[in-house]
């Protein structure tokens, strides 16, 4: 169980780092140091990671709230990929793309913190429960 909880931590941190890199790719395209296709291609990759978040959160028994938060992250991440489609017809909706990116990043941070606290608290509890047992032995 403990290794699954650390796996959840790893996936959450990976997701947050991926979002940061994705934003960097956008910056590269805006300032002419890169191309938008890099941002688009990596975007489709990183927005799949929340599926792993849901899976690892569920396997790690992170609690209903955390699992649902992972589901919300997946939904918001998928919305992110759809937003640019409105560019021609309703461009102001597409303009929400950077705002939504911050929401996704925030959700990633919240999940990473929850995963970390869960993993650490389990470690502490295990250490706490093993110490008296050792003394009694």
């Amino acid at each position: 169980m403990q290794s699954l909880r650390y796996l959840f931590v790893a996936v959450a941190i990976l997701f947050v780092a991926g979002i940061a890199y994705q934003v960097f790719l956008a910056g590269m395209a805006v300032f002419g140091a890169g191309v938008w296709s890099s941002h688009i291609d990596f975007g489709y990759l990183v927005t799949i990671v929340p599926v792993l978040l849901i899976l690892t959160a569920w396997l790690a028994k992170a609690g209903r709230r955390t699992v649902w938060l992972s589901v919300v992250t997946l939904v918001v991440a998928q919305v992110q990929t759809i937003l640019p489609w409105f560019r021609e017809d309703v461009p102001w909706i597409s303009a929400l793309h950077p705002v939504n990116a911050m929401v996704i990043f925030g959700l990633g941070i919240v999940l990473a913190r929850r995963a970390w606290v869960l993993a650490r608290s389990t470690s502490s509890a295990a250490a706490g429960s093993s110490a008296p047992a050792g003394q009694n032995a």
């Binding site: 934003v23 910056g27 300032f31 140091a33 461009p91 597409s94 303009a95 950077p98 925030g106």
Partner: protein, 149 residues
């Protein structure tokens, strides 16, 4: 220590306490206003990227100068409010990162890779701003320990 002062007379520190209280209220209001402006700023950059406002990034840039003064105001309010040292450091970091944020686009021609950090730095600015807006009211609210540490 209060000998010689008639009962009911306000203590000499009352005035500074009131000032700190007002500064704390001001800090919370400004912190939330700054965060709201960052949200608008992100929407404006979206308008620019998706060419709702044309190729010109003027609105996004100009709006930053409209609300940018809130960052140094937060530092001053934080000092006046006698907020905890860690909060003051975080507020100062926000000011520094915001200053860096306004400078980064000027490197677009010479160092476009560095200028691209403008977008990543925006995450840091929003993150710190959100952290301050959410956590400071909790720390200075009723029942919270006094600052100054």
């Amino acid at each position: 220590m209060t000998a010689g002062r008639p009962p009911g007379e306000p203590s000499p520190s009352m005035s500074s306490d009131q000032t700190a209280g007002l500064a704390r209220l001001g800090y919370v209001v400004v912190a939330w206003a700054f965060l709201a402006c960052l949200g608008v700023q992100l929407f404006l950059v979206g308008l620019d990227i998706f060419e709702v406002t044309g190729e010109d990034v003027g609105i996004h840039r100009d709006f930053a100068y409209v609300y940018g003064w809130l960052a140094p105001a937060l530092v001053l309010l934080g000092v006046a409010a006698r907020l905890p040292r860690r909060t003051l450091l975080l507020t100062t970091a926000l000011l520094v990162l915001f200053a860096v944020q306004t400078y980064l686009p000027s490197l677009a021609d010479e160092l476009p890779n560095v200028a691209a950090l403008h977008a990543v730095n925006a995450i840091a600015v929003v993150w710190i701003s959100a952290t301050l807006a959410v956590t400071v009211p909790r720390r200075i609210g009723p029942g919270a320990e006094g600052g100054g540490s």
